[in-house]
């Protein structure tokens, strides 16, 4: 970066962070839940732009897709089940929590003074393990996006944990809100009215594009920004769009509730299964160098990825491919399950009112 770009990025940081503070205060101030959700989606967008300025493209991707996209839609489903506004609280009840928040915030700001400078090359995070990842990824894992290599290979065990957490979140929503056979869905309309024909046609054109983009993010994540988590959410957004336009009944006919739940479990199983295979072949859990036994590895054609003379780490290559597939399955079907839970619950509530 040139000096000008550095100055520019510092100025952008200041402006974007000030925007975040303003939006945060407004969210805390408003009593209306819909206003809060709208402001939170704007907050996520500003954070995404800010993370981009900080050069954290993968995180910005997640923030834009999850924070501003999927969670806004799911929160809209959630406020349909509530009253839509929070009650006013007596100010005396707020003194103790406010004091606690100020003290915690003050301590955090005080602690941040002890942090190393941003981008300091001699800070612990950059000096030892971070430098090692950067130096060795090329020879140990292959020509990957270093973020993907760290996430899926070096820290594969942590990522397995994250995948399980997402699965558990979906399980929680399914247990609390998910509807079983007792849920009745809105009756199928006799005929689609045609004054939303533009939306329906636009949705039909966009759903394949969104799906295609999800696969691009999934498979290109090895090389560029993005990866299975982001791709999973994008894939789920395609299903959600179908649900919004054509109704929940049609969506469940296309992606059954049971299928979504089973695939969420299947993804975790695939991920952990890869780890077990590595153990069976004599390596550590999720040590992809042992993914293939020597006989199997000998069967892989040398020119599978084009150049036959290039040295490949097939175990690493396929290991990352498979665990990312597991993450994609779990994340996408978990988000779909959560959407089904909230959207289906509002039907339940409506039926109960009648």
């Amino acid at each position: 970066m040139t000096g000008f770009a550095v100055e520019m990025s510092a100025a952008l940081n200041v402006v974007l962070l000030l925007m975040l503070v303003a939006i945060g205060l407004a969210v805390a101030h408003t009593r209306n839940l819909l206003t809060a959700i709208l402001l939170m989606s704007v907050y996520s967008l500003v954070s995404a732009a800010w993370l981009m300025v900080m050069d954290a493209a993968d995180v910005a991707f997640t923030e834009a897709v999850v924070g501003a996209g999927a969670s806004t839609i799911i929160l809209l489903g959630a406020i349909l089940l509530t009253r839509g506004a929070t009650a006013r609280v007596d100010w005396r009840a707020m003194v103790a929590p406010a004091l606690l928040a100020v003290i915690t915030g003050g301590l955090l700001i005080y602690a941040s003074l002890g942090l190393p400078e941003f981008g300091d090359p001699s800070s612990p995070a950059n000096a030892y393990v971070g430098r090692m990842y950067l130096e060795r990824t090329g020879e140990e894992v292959g020509p990957h996006n270093v973020v993907t290599a760290v996430l899926a290979s070096y820290r594969g065990f942590d990522t397995l944990g994250e995948t399980v957490v997402i699965f558990a979140a979906g399980l929680g929503v399914a247990l609390m809100l998910g509807f079983g056979p007792r849920a009745t869905l809105a009756p199928a309309p006799e005929k689609m009215g045609d004054h939303h024909v533009v939306l329906r046609v636009a949705a039909k054109m966009l759903i394949p594009l969104i799906t295609l983009y999800a696969f691009y993010v999934q498979f290109h994540g090895d090389l560029g920004a993005g990866g299975a988590f982001q791709a999973g959410v994008i894939l789920a957004v395609a299903v959600i769009l179908y649900g919004l336009v054509f109704g929940l009944r049609e969506t469940i006919a296309a992606v059954p509730v049971k299928a979504a739940r089973s695939v969420a479990a299947l993804g975790v199983m695939l991920y952990a299964g890869i780890g077990v295979i590595c153990m069976v072949n004599g390596g550590a859990f999720l040590d992809y160098d042992y993914l293939f036994s020597p006989q199997v590895e000998a069967m892989i054609p040398a020119n599978l990825l084009g150049d036959p003379h290039e040295e490949h780490h097939w175990g690493q290559h396929f290991g990352i491919l498979f665990v990312e597939l597991g993450v994609l399955l779990t994340v996408s079907s978990t988000i779909v399950t959560i959407f089904y839970g909230f959207a289906g619950r509002s039907i339940d509530a409506e039926e109960a009112k009648r």
Partner: protein
């Protein structure tokens, strides 16, 4: 320099959108502000991608452009139908925003 001027212009527009989103007064103003803020973010991501010499930032801008559309449909549906589950039909379930 042109890119920097564009960034500055976008930031001013974003501040104005935030002011509208915070002040309202009606929810429709806020939705409009949030929606245009999404568009401004897409543009900002694209511009700073080139400003910092990292054109692959465009991936994120593109994906948000797609997702913004879905979020807007969800918001519209929230107002029109008070349900995310109804199909978009002329007759079934369509009601006034507040009944």
């Amino acid at each position: 320099m042109l890119l920097a001027a564009g960034t500055a212009g976008l930031l001013v527009a974003m501040v104005l959108m935030i002011a509208r989103a915070v002040m309202g007064p009606s929810q429709y103003d806020r939705i409009l502000a949030a929606n245009s803020f999404g568009t401004k973010t897409v543009l900002l991501l694209a511009v700073i991608g080139y400003l910092f010499g990292r054109p692959h930032f465009l991936d994120v801008a593109l994906v948000y452009a797609l997702i913004n559309f879905v979020v807007t449909i969800a918001l519209m549906k929230f107002f029109r139908y008070r349900s995310l589950a109804q199909p978009l039909t002329a007759s079934a379930g369509e009601r006034a925003p507040h009944d």
